[in-house]
Structure formats: structure tokens, C-alpha cells
Point group: C2
Chain length 247, copies 2
């Protein structure tokens, strides 16, 4: 429809990004990617994934709309980029904090506080996760799956170490403890923010939850009722069998 090549007016595109000597192309590209991710993080957290627009992000990053697409395939990929960056930072600071502490209890305590605090601060980011996790299957191929795995590995290591030196009793599946730990913290973050009470009230919320949680894990007494356990296993099998009959 449009016929003539238009007189484009583009002036001084990257005027602020570069201008210092010996910056290689690669370094400038990396810098721009950072700028885009920062802008995206800001826009996503303030407006939410749905209402955030690519135009807003481009404007805040100081680039044209089209430029975003040379760095990220689409809006989805951009959001995933933001989350990936978040996980990287989270894992790094978590490891650091854990390493600088000695006892199992203080380490667990730190990890819990670190997690819930980060979540509450950058809540909008993790909220995008379920949106993006490509409908169930194929998620394990996703980069985010791996990043999440390395993050929670910090917790897993703590548990195993704690067991080895007798600080943590019981033999519950680490996966179960992990679900309880992170699940409670995520949910707790949400509900504390929703109550929307003041800063100090939230502090109290955090302390109560973290203490309880760590206490439960460290003080867990092993229920060794193997007979009962086996009974439930039997129930599992009966249920499965019945369902198969149904179909």
C-alpha cells in the first residue's frame, strides 16, 4: 500500500550509550541488553505483564520498538529474560549469605529471610512465571527450569549437610521439605503484602513465619510408622487401579 521510501529522520540513536573510547561492539551490545532488561523489569513490575507494552519498554530503554526484537524474540522471551536475570542475582546472593554463616540453623534462617524478602520486593517478577511456563510439557527444556533448579539446590545442600552432621533429624524426602519451605515463604509473602499493613507489621509476619518454618525443619521428629506408611502406599495403588478400571 505505502509506496515511496520515506525520508526517515532518525537522529543520534545511541548517543548516550557509547561515546567512550575502546568500547567494542560486543560490550555495547551487552550494555544495551542490560538496559533493555532493566527497563523491562521496571515496566513489568509497575504495570504487570499484561498491561505493560513493548512501546513503554522501548521508550524507557531508549531504543526503537523494533530493536527489542533483535535482543528478544518476543514479549514472552523478554519477560523470561527478566526472570532469568532475577534468578541469577537471587542465587548468587543466597549462596554468598549461606557461605558466610556457620551453623545449619543460622543458614536456614538466612535463606528463608533472604527468599521472602526478595520475593516481597520484586513480587511482580515471579508472578509472571506461571504465565510463561510453556503449558506444562517442554518446560524442563526451558532455561528457567534450570535456573530454578540451581537456586533451590542451595536449600537442598543445606538439608543434606544438616543431616550429615546430625542437625536435622528425620529422613523425609528433600523434595517434600523443599515444597514446604519455598511454598510457605511464597504464600506468606503474598498474604502479608495483601494485608497491606505497615512496614513493621510485615516484619513481624516474616519473623513469625520464618521461625516456625525453620523450627519445623530442624526439629522435625521422624515419624517412623512404617506400617502406616505402607498402608497408604497400598491406598495409592488401589486408587490408581480403580481409575484404570473406570476408563
Amino acid at each position: 500500500m505505502a509506496s515511496e521510501p520515506v525520508e526517515t529522520t532518525q537522529l543520534a540513536a545511541g548517543s548516550d550509550v557509547l561515546s567512550s573510547p575502546n568500547v567494542t561492539r560486543q560490550s555495547r551490545v551487552r550494555k544495551r541488553e542490560d538496559a533493555i532488561i532493566s527497563a523491562a523489569r521496571h515496566v513489568f513490575t509497575t504495570h504487570g505483564y499484561v498491561k505493560a507494552t513493548m512501546a513503554m519498554i522501548a521508550r524507557e530503554a531508549g531504543v526503537a520498538d523494533g530493536t527489542l526484537y533483535t535482543y528478544f524474540e518476543n514479549k514472552d522471551a523478554l519477560a523470561r529474560g527478566v526472570i532469568a536475570d532475577y534468578y541469577a542475582r537471587l542465587t548468587q546472593t543466597a549462596k554468598q549469605g549461606v557461605d558466610s554463616r556457620r551453623t545449619t540453623q543460622t543458614r536456614l534462617d538466612f535463606l528463608a529471610r533472604h527468599h521472602i524478602t526478595s520475593i516481597m520486593e520484586e513480587r511482580g517478577i515471579i508472578e509472571m512465571l506461571p504465565l510463561l511456563s510453556s503449558r506444562l510439557s517442554g518446560y524442563s527444556k526451558d532455561e528457567l527450569y534450570g535456573l530454578n533448579k540451581t537456586y533451590v539446590a542451595v536449600f537442598d545442600g543445606l538439608i543434606r549437610e544438616g543431616r550429615a552432621c546430625g542437625d536435622i533429624p528425620g529422613d523425609a524426602d528433600v523434595a517434600v521439605l523443599r515444597d514446604i519451605f519455598f511454598g510457605a515463604l511464597d504464600y506468606g509473602a503474598r498474604s502479608s503484602l495483601m494485608r497491606a499493613s505497615g512496614e513493621s507489621a510485615r516484619k513481624t509476619d516474616i519473623t513469625r513465619l520464618v521461625n516456625r518454618l525453620v523450627g519445623m525443619i530442624i526439629g522435625t521428629s521422624a515419624s517412623t510408622g512404617s506400617l502406616a506408611d505402607r498402608l497408604e502406599t497400598v491406598a495409592d495403588r488401589i486408587e490408581t487401579a480403580l481409575k484404570q478400571v473406570g476408563h
Copy 2:
């Protein structure tokens, strides 16, 4: 641009919805609202909030695009409608199941299983929640906040009753236990689905998590007649499974 009133061809709009006698307008409207919510639930769960389109929903509900907007203000409101409907059903079945059991242990156990099972089945629905919760403030005015509150009230009541009759030791804040309970179940549902192992593996995941969780709250272990309690749990589950086969 378009000038002339067009010869519209609309034929037999509600031909399938009505056609029985003494259906009042109100009842037809209610039926149509149900149809829309059902269609929306289906489309939202299969495609996710973002990729689901109003046109898809309208088509599946058997109405014109515009009709959706006489029932729900916009896409957001429609999604909230779906969630509200979900919560209503969830609360009803939860209450019912709890009331039909006697001991604190079996009740808690049922509630946990009921929750995680429902979540896993209709996972896409609750995943929309964070998207819709109007950015923090003002959420307490939201209908969904109230519905969630009445739902978790079932758990709260259980805890208080359990304390009153000595089944649940300790004096931890109920809010903290609630965060741990529902948080662990939500998170556990996600991670079990993500591992995407088979049907029976997921059953085992659920059993492990629920047992641990209930054990932690009740104060655990094989102290007082837990074998008998667990036996009842097993009976519960067999009954439920049998009922499902029946349908």
C-alpha cells in the same frame, strides 16, 4: 466510513438455549452466564489468560462477541468470574468433606488432599489470580479476596477446633499455619506437575507431602493412635476413589 445500514442476517440466535416453556428471562440469563463461564474456564485453562481470546470464548459459548460484554465488563472481569466460580465450588466441597469426617487428623488430611487435587486439576485457573489482583492496593475490596477468605476459613476453623479438643498442640499464629499449609500444597502441586512424571508418581508425591504437612501441624508422630487414624484415612480415600469410578 461505512455508510448504509447493513442487511444483517442474524438467524436463530438463542435457538439452543431456550425452547422450553415457562423459562423466565432471568433463568435464561443465568443459564447463559453459566455457559459463558464454562466456556471461559475451558478456553482459559487450555490456552492461558494471555493467549485466550474473547472470540474463542464467545464461539464456544455460542454467543456473539459483543454479548460477553453484557455479562462481564471486560476480559479481566470474565477471568475473575471464572475464579469466583471456582472458589465457590471449592469451598462447598471442602466444607462438605470436612463435615462428613470426625477426627481432626482425618479432616485435615482430607482438606489437604482436596486442595492439592483440585489445584492440580484446574491449575490454569488459579494461575490467573496474580494477574488480576489489582496491583496490591484495593484488593481487599475485591470480591475474590472475600471468597478466598471464606475458603481458608475452613482451615482456620479446623485448627481452632483441634486446639480446643487438644488434638493440636502449640499456640502458633493460625495465619502462620495457614501460610505453611496452603503454600506448601500450592507449591507442591506445581513442582509435581512440572516433574510431569506419571499418574502414580504424582500420587506418591501428594501422599508424601500431605502426610508430612499434616504431621507437622498435628504435632506428629506415632504417639496417640495414629495407626487407627491413618486407617480411617485409607478408608476415606478408597471411598472417594470408588465414588469417582461411579461417575
